[in-house]
Symmetry: D2
Subunit: 459 residues, 4 copies
């Protein structure tokens, strides 16, 4: 009763069947599989390879199966191996003989990779939507926190004062490049393998351009062996997911830090926090910890696929069945990460008062001071450095130093130095393109508001 | 209604709940969780922290929950987060007040890692059983194919003749080292975290040695922060799985090659082969392709966990929730790989006739010839090399050359050279410990038969 | 004497200096670093931040340093930490005061990432050239082997006959998508971080568009924090390298198999083979084994960078220093892999005679036979399957069966069946777009000859 | 002039030679290679396979070569491929004919893996020494900071008060398990492959037990094919390195956090800090950032080796040449990480005053309060939670609440509650084995002082 039974006298053992089955996960492709079969049947009829009446019964049958699947009425059978055979066999159960003609001029090798490319296309669209939502949430968060200066860090040491808006937009930029990667990936994978059959094509007079077009592909793939062999589009997709995951892990790390007692910059609402079963005072930013943590599985999924494909000769090898679960898991995870980060961004506030109080620490204005001195930079760096050292010994701020103290450090200081020290002064001075200067940031913010189509009235 | 509700006024959003839930996978720990709770309750009673009657109601309740879970009657609730809270809350539903005392002097932080160590311990025992079964299957295969000489390969080029038994035992050796790694891993993880509570221990007079012993651990872990923070035992376990998976991927590759038309050395039974939906003549060694392929996910799972743990500060971070799925997936996969490889080994035969016919090709006896020449090895290598070159030009075997032809290549050859050429002669000559000489192999085979307790009568 | 000495009283320990140094590898960026400094100095002068005469002394000094580096006369000093400080300090040694002004309005944070983007741009161009060379070599190999039919494999089992040309072109297709990925990566990274300074930009009136244009970038990056923080362009580059490496590992695997005694399809010239120090008859396809093996380090390098970036908060963290060695190693490796594969392709021949002799085995024409039968595919698959089973029992080919034998299997067979069996007939029948039919392949070959600008006269 | 020249007529191309060479990195094995050759020659003479006088000339020659290598006088030649051939050929240049007999009954296949196992053995001893040094440094740091209470974190949120000593010892525990893994790895790899020759052993009457013993191995490996094929010992070693690296990355993360302005708990000396080329006030904990960052390459190296070995058939494949660089890099990196972490630990101080000031925040005593209440834990958790909520609303500490306020929250509170609130009280209450209670920690500290042989006088 197996589909390849002709020369087989014995069934596979239970353990082998259990180990080999894919129906438990590849049923996720049902929609794409039916879509592909409908396009194929339509083409077969158009080319006279099946009759119009057979086609109609096939199309109706497939529609009915789809309906049953979506209504939860369809019984998936492990002994029918995979999604392709489950649907085809169910069709045969329903309409008999015509169903047996559906597999004319195709093989599961080209069928599964057609399904997979269609699935990826949809998944990318979905991810792109989620990416944009997160960008919008971040821009809205920026709009809500105008003028808030926060410490900018390098080496997790306080470096220079920056506008929170500027920091938030840095993540928006990264997500925009992520979107570019997904779009490129989609363009590159949007070609049709259907009709490559097992690996060599077919001798039957099919029209691959017709099915390609019907399924919304750009064109049929040019080489049938390549069509069934390669999974580079999955590798590229999982790479894009991984890079996005790394971006989100970094945002996660930052917000977890900021939510700590020590930073105290960020307060999550209860709706995105959890508590402890033992410590009653705890309020944990779990969602962002999990975002950070789940980046690991996205990377793991990519590695799985790289290891999988390594060293396989052309064309289809059964190993490739293992491409699906990492793909599905990676996409599900990245969507969850985007969604939850978006909700987190929508449900936090920044503790303006505490941030303001904390700002003086760390001598964030030292670089501005160095810029102020009209001497060669290596010299001014040294003077500013000694000024900071003096502050440290006195436990005070640069702005607390008197002019005479400053002039004892170096005679280059003049009265106007006080326009350059202090965090507010410091931020005001920034003016280079892309810098944290208020005007620059404001322009960038408007750029994103407009690009993302955000209605600033409603936020 | 959340377990940490005291200071919380709002529930988490649906997306966060969906993203954070672990019940869908951590319910796999139910047995260990109940076991741990029973040991904990017993100790609490012993130390006077709860009454005997509370203890009894708790123990009975837990037994009942276990029964219900195993009968499929237990309803897992996502709003109850994880396996720990599901079981505790169900217990409270059943027995009321006493259940609320069960969480005395413990936290989910020590509870989950206790469950996990218990689970790993069982999983390792299970894997060790599967490893041994595969060793037995390989030794049995060797016993069934006594005397069969096959080409030994380096660079996938024919190198020297070896006994098939010798080749099969090389995999048995590798699996034995794998077993050693699992045993070491188990010894190292078999320490009890229970009582470490959230991270600092407790002020209540618990007895950690008592619970440790009751649960079959060697001793309690010495440091409570370490106890709840570290997942090195999972990393070590997944590393051991990965190394075994790599071993199996290599056996998979070898057997896939050997089952090809070109090699034609190995014939799988129908019960471990599959066919093609389009090519009626195909008979594919799918199980071993999948073994090779599934090695990838075992590696991916390890990478996931390494990425997960990287850069997390002490002690528990929510990221660590993500340790479970890779662990479960890795163990399930490696067990499937071992099981299916065992079945494959039990259901193949070697094509003696074809192998014998193929043996002469490749001049497998050239090294033996080089050894025969009583001259410095670098010189004999050169003479044997020129002999092979002469054979190639004449399209013949070394054993086909006449003594005068050989002596024209180098006068060192004498009549007894014919005892050293030809594959059978060649194998006979090997005598070093661990070599492919018949006697050496026979001794090794008996070593394994005895070590693995194989009854040679029945095979 | 350290560049950040102002507030420091003690030097770092030797072990820390050794551990932290990057000059041993980042000196590879010297060309880009000097290029960037020249553009920066030119802009500073243009904007009046340094004098024309300072600029000229800086430019001349930098040119001289470049010349000395390329002549091997430059002494790299570990105590000067990295390529940036080595060059700047050497400049100061040469021209004094003006050199100290070069670091005005920049930081090593934006400097290093500018260098790195410039380096990646060049590396990608280089890889694209190598990719094309390999495509040309493969197409030339196809041109040289017109008409050669080889077995096409799935599951490493013989599946259908294909033209060798068709198989070779499948790799050309994959390399073409690889090229697309590199091109996209280059477009996405070709933006200028210079002027982002430490992370916040600067208060000095620099012109970032001027430096961006001078360095051939599309535009300056829009956000200074993003500019110094992100390494997604390295991740994307290493992903592209990894996918290409996987493609090459598959070609490597295939050619290693084909060079085995058992396949015997491919004969490498001595110039791309190696022998054995002990087995005189060996001739190993080492270069392709190493291509397959070296794919591993390309994947390892990608993983290194993913792990590196995971969980780092914005903006620059010292961890990011570790981005360079994996990048350099990955690029060097992939270029070597492409180069050696190209040479291998140029130095192999296919054993036409042996391939022809081997072709009948495996019933490669069974699918064509199934297509021939004008009955529903599932039925024809079954008939063809039984025909093969009959052949197996008689140890003969499908074309050896008499019409009466065939008709006993199923009455649907007619005299014209003999036009559909046999490997040559089978290949002739393929006609679908992208199939292995001679005409289709010939068209595709011409497409590539023209696209790659190959002169078919000379090959 | 190549060692396998007999049947070869052409040299390999330059690109192939460059791509294939290993001498640039495998020369690191020179000591092990010479050691192995000396043991081999001694055995050959003992067994009568070479003369005593040949042996003596070989041993003297090898000693001389070793001396020349270590004096930097030895010229490594790329055209001699690898370390084995460089040394053997140099020996032939020196002593002529006897040198040609050295390769009797061995092959580079068993030679290289013997060298590698010897190298790993030494490397592990070295790493074990470094691990212990770091443990000592951490224990000394604990000894120096007696009584210092710090916040213990979960989710990076303040959880409970712990002794700094307790926290430091948690890392000591982790390093101890790391040491166990290395020791196990060494025991498992300490078997001798020498005499396995190419893959099949030899027909010459060698004594593998003699060479095994001379080289300090436990015994010869039992199976010659396994001996030359497997690299599981490298995989296990790199896994152990990776787990240690993850541990250090976590310590790195923690100390980087603690050195931030926001935490301000840890002050590194100048000797383990670096500054900024642009921001004069910066003092960065670079060494620990690099420790965190370099963990990535250790993981990357492991992945490289896993990918490398995946799917290779037995026995030696040229791919395996790629095992060395990841191994060397991983070991060098982990040693550097351990060394630098040790130096960092020796050069930091904890800011007792600031920590003390910061302690009240975060309600670290809430769990102790919950333990105090003699009611079922779920109830006490709720009461303590409401007490914290009340504190939050009043912006005060638990110890600031009056008894009547407490009793309004719940009547269960009594006067003695004040012995349970406040951080000092809280720490005093801990008493379970392995907890942070002063006595428990003190005992653990003494355990480690004694186990590590630390002289507490001198610290």
């Amino acid at each position: 009763n197996k589909l390849w039974g002709g020369r087989f006298e014995e069934s596979v053992t239970d353990a082998v069947e259990r180990f080999s089955e894919s129906i438990s996960f590849d049923k996720a492709l049902y929609k794409q599989d039916i879509m592909g079969s409908k396009a194929h049947a339509t083409m077969l009829a158009e080319k006279g390879l099946i009759t119009i009446s057979d086609r109609d019964r096939i199309l109706d049958g497939l529609d009915d199966i789809k309906r049953r699947i979506e209504a939860g009425e369809f019984v998936w059978r492990t002994d029918r191996e995979d999604v392709h055979m489950n649907i085809e066999a169910a069709l045969t159960d329903m309409i008999g003989e015509p169903a047996k003609k559906l597999h004319t001029a195709r093989s599961r090798n080209d069928q599964v990779v057609t399904d997979l490319r269609l699935w990826c296309r949809d998944a990318i669209d979905d991810i792109l939507t989620h990416l944009k939502r997160l960008q919008v949430a971040l821009v809205n968060l920026a709009l809500k926190n105008e003028g808030l200066i926060v410490p900018g860090y390098t080496h997790l040491q306080r470096a220079q004062p920056v506008l929170l808006q500027h920091l938030l937009l840095s993540y928006v930029e990264q997500l925009e490049r992520d979107a570019g990667r997904f779009a490129d990936c989609k363009d590159r994978l949007n070609f049709c393998p259907l009709g490559a059959c097992a690996l060599a094509g077919t001798g039957l007079p099919i029209d691959r351009f017709m099915t390609s077009e019907a399924l919304g592909f750009i064109a049929p793939l040019r080489n049938s062996i390549d069509a069934v062999s390669d999974r580079d589009f999955v590798l590229e997709f999982l790479s894009a997911n991984s890079i996005t995951a790394i971006h989100l892990s970094r945002l996660g790390e930052e917000w977890v830090l900021w939510a700590s007692e020590e930073f105290g910059f960020l307060i999550p609402n209860d709706s995105v926090s959890t508590g402890s079963s033992i410590m009653p005072q705890k309020k944990n930013p779990d969602p962002m910890e999990l975002v950070r943590g789940k980046s690991a599985r996205v990377v793991g999924d990519l590695v799985t696929l790289l290891v999988l494909c390594k060293g396989l000769p052309q064309a289809y090898n059964r190993d490739l069945q293992e491409d699906k679960e990492p793909l599905f898991d990676s996409c599900k995870t990245i969507k969850g990460m985007l969604e939850v980060t978006t909700e987190f961004a929508q449900n936090i506030s920044f503790n303006h008062e505490r941030i303001k109080r904390a700002l003086p620490a760390g001598h964030l204005d030292a670089t501005t001071l160095a810029d102020y001195l009209g001497v060669p930079f290596r010299t001014s760096h040294d003077i500013a450095g000694r000024s900071v050292a003096f502050c440290l010994s006195k436990n005070c701020q640069l702005s607390d130093l008197s002019l005479s103290e400053l002039m004892r450090i170096d005679p280059v200081f003049e009265e106007d130095v006080y326009e350059f020290v202090g965090v507010d002064n410091s931020v005001k001075k920034f003016c280079s393109y892309g810098s944290t200067g208020s005007e620059c940031v404001s322009e960038q913010l408007m750029f994103w508001v407009s690009k993302l189509g955000i209605n600033t009235e409603s936020c």
